[in-house]
């Protein structure tokens, strides 16, 4: 497989076409904006937490296929997880896309492993990790939304 088809795996193309959890969230308790000045990508991540658990997560914005598919798969991956589990997943995901993940550890990432091809394209690491950084920002210091 060429490095390009490693990058644009079918799962990524499919999530780019029909991203999951692509909607604003009226009852979110936190949200954050993510921005990549290099390419003008921007997205918003909304979350609703209950105690330590991310009950619901959604996103909207504009970006390349990698950033959009990554946001889509991120929302599917962290829904129902605790903050600590989400943080651990982000750490592993980041090591995957920067090529620093130990061989064999990719399986622990489930579907997120489709982003392994990103490590061949250092400039796209930011695209793949933008939604994760935004999720982290929302969890750490996200603006509490007024209840509607």
């Amino acid at each position: 497989m060429s490095s390009l088809s490693e990058l644009y795996q079918n799962v990524i193309l499919e999530h780019n076409r029909s991203p999951r959890n692509y909607r604003p969230m009226a009852d979110a308790d936190r949200h954050a904006e993510g921005h990549n000045p290099l390419c003008g990508d921007q997205l918003t991540v909304w979350i609703r937490t209950k105690g330590d658990v991310i009950e619901d997560v959604s996103f909207q914005g504009s970006g390349c296929a990698i950033s959009r598919a990554s946001a889509s798969l991120m929302t599917s991956a962290v829904k129902g997880k605790t903050r600590q589990e989400a943080a651990l997943l982000f750490d592993r995901f980041h090591r995957l896309v920067t090529g620093a993940l130990a061989p064999g550890d990719a399986e622990t990432l489930g579907k997120l492993a489709v982003f392994s091809g990103v490590s061949e394209f250092p400039i796209r690491v930011k695209c793949a990790s933008l939604s994760w950084h935004t999720l982290k920002a929302a969890l750490d210091r996200g603006t509490a939304q007024p209840t509607i």
């Binding site: 490095s3 390009l4 644009y8 390419c39 003008g40 504009s62 970006g63 296929a65 796209r124 695209c127």
Partner: protein
């Protein structure tokens, strides 16, 4: 009839002057279509820089020794070469800077801060590169002036009626680009500068995209300042030029202090050298200046007539081959354009387009081109931009069109 014959340049032969063009990228022949970002360098430029460091290196305007005198002579000779290139009245009107960006910042901080008053207006256009917008925003916030922008039409031309309305008694400066880097539009600079001068408005032209494509004559344009960058006109990075009308430069205070820009220095204070030295503090980019001289010699040997004809032909061919592809929309369709083709592909982000083209060995730019207001005007977050130089070929444009078809298939 071949493309080469019609334009009067032997392109196949010329391509051999550019060592970088013969390489393969990702297993394919390099197709370099990112010339508006930076152009490639002919052997003569590379050799001039190499020769300077191998045999001629010394600091300038200082030592009374053979190498220093020779380096000073070579450096000042390029100043004269640039004065001829721009048809300036004298070499004293040529200031070396790091690039267009620094040249514009110099004018903003030296001329601007000593001249612009609260309530004054700085008139720019909606198609400026950030380098001809942000320095004026900074100046406005420092002086209490404001920045107004001439809007652009759907085809990417300046709205000239709006221009006339925006040019008022409060306007102190008109800063506009000769050619838009994001759209390729060639603006009617001479006419707009003339209208501004009727109102007593000082004018600055961003010539970064113009210098590689057409003859730039500052006296014919009638502008007070003009800036361009060496690396876009086949020269080295790290060197640029500010042309300034002598009478204005003479009145402008220093911008940066240091060596080379002084007359006398005591612990109590200093007096300053006359222009252009007043604006060239510190040891400059001597080797890059020497390289720029070689680049202008190279361009001069081809002539802007043949260069322009070649680029017009490439642009027309690309507009036809690429503009007709399904699901592709051109951004910037002005009547007068330089070799820039900006476009978006339906449903595919420009970065993804660029990644697929890159896999075919094709270098284009994807992004906002440091012109975010232009992107906003056309309702797109970014575009793909293919930009041409005289050394590009029809075959390379065919490769671009094939690559774009692959983009459509992959993201269908």
């Amino acid at each position: 009839m071949t493309a080469t014959a019609t334009a009067g340049l032997d392109v196949e032969q010329l391509r051999k002057d550019f060592p970088i063009l013969s390489q393969r990228v990702r297993g394919k022949p390099l197709v370099y279509l990112d010339n508006a970002a930076t152009s490639q360098k002919p052997r003569s430029v590379i050799d001039a820089v190499g020769r300077f460091y191998s045999a001629e290196n010394a600091n300038i305007h200082r030592g009374v020794h053979f190498l220093s005198e020779r380096a000073t002579g070579a450096y000042e000779a390029v100043r004269g070469r640039i004065a001829r290139f721009l048809n300036a009245s004298s070499p004293g009107e040529i200031v070396f800077t790091r690039g267009t960006t620094e040249a514009i910042n110099l004018v903003a901080q030296s001329w601007g801060r000593s001249t612009v008053q609260p309530g004054d207006e700085i008139l720019v256009t909606g198609m400026e590169h950030h380098s001809n917008l942000v320095p004026w925003q900074l100046l406005a916030s420092q002086t209490g002036a404001s920045v107004r922008a001439v809007p652009i039409t759907d085809s990417g031309e300046l709205d000239l009626d709006a221009f006339d309305r925006l040019l008022t008694d409060r306007t102190r400066l008109l800063a506009l680009t000769y050619i838009s880097n994001a759209l390729g539009t060639i603006n009617p600079v001479r006419e707009l500068v003339a209208r501004a001068r009727e109102h007593g408005v000082v004018t600055l032209v961003d010539g970064a995209q113009a210098a590689p494509h057409l003859p730039v004559d500052v006296q014919a344009l009638g502008c007070d300042f003009l800036a361009f960058s060496g690396h876009k006109v086949f020269g080295p990075t790290g060197v640029g030029v500010l042309y300034g009308r002598e009478a204005l430069l003479e009145r402008m205070p220093p911008w940066q202090g240091g060596g080379d820009m002084i007359e006398t220095v005591t612990l109590e204070g200093s007096t300053f050298a006359r222009p252009p030295a007043r604006f060239e503090a510190g040891t400059p980019m001597i080797a890059a200046v020497i390289g720029l001289g070689a680049a202008l010699d190279y361009v001069g040997s081809l002539g802007f007539g043949p260069i322009g004809a070649r680029e017009d032909e490439l642009l027309a061919y690309a507009t036809e081959q690429v503009g007709d592809l399904d699901g592709l929309r051109l951004v910037g369709t002005a009547r007068r354009k330089a070799g820039v083709l900006s476009f978006v592909v339906d449903g595919v982000h420009p970065h993804d387009v660029s990644a697929v083209l890159d896999d075919e060995g094709i270098a284009v730019r994807a992004g906002h081109h440091c012109a975010q207001p232009v992107m906003r005007r056309f309702g797109v977050p970014a575009t793909v931009r293919a930009s041409f130089a005289f050394y590009n070929t029809r075959e390379e444009i065919d490769a671009l069109a094939r690559g774009l078809r692959r983009v459509r298939t992959l993201f269908a």
